[in-house]
């Protein structure tokens, strides 16, 4: 049994390690007889059982989120498959600092070429009581990788990401296609 954590009943590997003692009585040793009395003897067999549960941290695959026509305030929610049976660190990184125009990310004339967004993260955890790991980032800040730590907790299953686009300012956004790549990485910390 992993210290401090409840072993969840899923068929994923070895059973928890435990030590058990089995005592068996065998009529094997010679018995002593004195003046008609008998003395019981016994043999003892100790059996030690051990196994291991490997550390496992896995994320579900990402996906494609199409926000359609960008007018500002678009919201997208992604429920991400996430399992980690040891304390962990989740990292987030944006490739372009926001949704960027395919060919003119710096814009043209008075029209901007990048639309920023906010990213809210919520991860249910166990420590051993249920809690939630939460954080918020702006897409511009995510151009350098940002991490959040579970502080000793393990994942309770799943993670939720919510993205909300900013409202374009000034003349608005340059016409065209916009895209962004957001990478989520989990690293065990134990």
């Amino acid at each position: 049994m992993q210290s401090g954590y409840k072993a969840r009943g899923r068929r994923s590997g070895m059973t928890a390690a435990l030590t058990a003692v089995a005592c068996c009585a065998f009529a094997g040793a010679a018995s002593a007889h004195t003046d008609g009395a008998s003395v019981a003897t016994f043999s003892k067999l100790e059996i030690a059982l051990d196994g291991r549960i490997p550390a496992r941290c896995e994320l579900g695959r990402g996906g494609r989120i199409d926000l359609g026509e960008l007018t500002g305030g678009e919201t997208a929610t992604a429920n991400l498959g996430f399992e980690c049976n040891v304390p962990f660190e989740l990292s987030f990184q944006s490739s372009r600092g926001g949704l960027a125009h395919d060919t003119a990310p710096n814009g043209q004339g008075p029209y901007a070429g990048t639309l920023g967004y906010s990213l809210d993260i919520r991860v249910p955890t166990l420590n051993p009581t249920p809690r939630a790991l939460q954080a918020s980032f702006n897409s511009r800040a995510l151009t350098s990788r940002k991490s959040i730590s579970s502080d000793g907790a393990i994942a309770a299953g799943g993670a939720r990401l919510q993205l909300v686009t900013e409202t374009p300012t000034g003349a608005g956004l340059l016409a065209g296609k916009y895209s962004e790549t957001l990478t989520v990485t989990v690293t065990p910390r134990f």
């Binding site: 490997p54 941290c57 494609r64 429920n79 003119a104």
Partner: protein
């Protein structure tokens, strides 16, 4: 507000089924002896491999036979291996996309056609006017049309065009064409702040003065990158050196903003 929900993958526990080869337990011992000199020997049985499996099965059978002359114990067991790969690091990638449609704007109120009437275009009509000036225009006729919203959010062209080069007079009167004329040429100049066309990068604004000259046929076209600014259209009917035939003069021109 648009809400898009995406179920991003599944947790590791739901990976493809099919238990991999187990981490098998095959181990035991049996007793030989007591033998002369060396006494009782405990012989190990089991281990990985087919040969050891056969020996293990035999020893296991002995270990369950209470009538056997050989003491033996044996353990068989296994535990399912990991389903999937127990990765140390893992990552998920989201691709987020959206579009902005091309659009041009020219604010002209609730309609796209406007008519402007100069009224009487002044001419020298007095008997006291010298013969060189009689029936000639007193001065230019001018008109400026302003809007505070014009532009396009992508590469575009601004075109000034007209069906005829001059204002036309349908008066059927004959006239001496060395003295009179029955058309009035006019120019149209568009003034606005544009940008450099198709550079792929943002740049400084570019002041544009685009003119369709008086008497010129065809159109005036200026290409721009995305721009947005007020726009002024200056229409000038210049004073003519010839006398002007009486009648109503009319014409039309268009200003078109179009994405490329």
């Amino acid at each position: 507000m648009k809400i898009v929900s995406l179920l991003a993958g599944v947790a590791a526990v739901a990976l493809t089924a099919g238990v991999a080869s187990a981490q098998d337990i095959n181990r035991g011992q049996f007793t030989l002896g007591p033998l002369p000199i060396i006494g009782t020997q405990h012989i190990d049985v089991g281990g990985p491999g087919a040969g050891n499996l056969i020996a293990g099965l035999a020893n296991n059978a002995t270990a369950q036979n209470g009538n056997s002359s050989i003491s033996a114990w044996h353990a068989f067991g296994n535990a399912a291996s990991d389903v999937g790969t127990a990765a140390n690091n893992d990552s998920a990638t989201f691709t987020i996309q959206g579009t902005i449609s091309t659009d041009c704007a020219y604010y002209s109120g609730d309609n796209t056609t406007e008519t402007f009437n100069f009224g009487t275009i002044g001419i020298y009509a007095s008997d006291n006017t010298g013969p060189n000036s009689a029936f000639e225009m007193v001065d230019d006729a001018e008109l400026t049309i302003n809007t505070n919203l014009a532009g396009c959010n992508s590469n575009n062209s601004v075109t000034i065009s007209r069906t005829s080069a001059d204002l036309q007079n349908p008066n059927t009167s004959g006239f001496d064409n060395t003295v009179f004329r029955d058309t009035l040429p006019y120019s149209v100049t568009a003034r606005y702040t544009g940008s450099d066309f198709n550079t792929g990068v943002g740049g400084a604004p570019v002041a544009r003065t685009q003119t369709l000259a008086a008497g010129a046929a065809g159109s005036s076209v200026q290409q721009n990158g995305a721009w947005r600014s007020p726009m002024a259209l200056d229409v000038v009917i210049p004073q003519q050196p010839l006398a002007i035939l009486a009648g109503t003069y009319s014409g039309s021109f268009s200003i078109t903003l179009q994405t490329i």
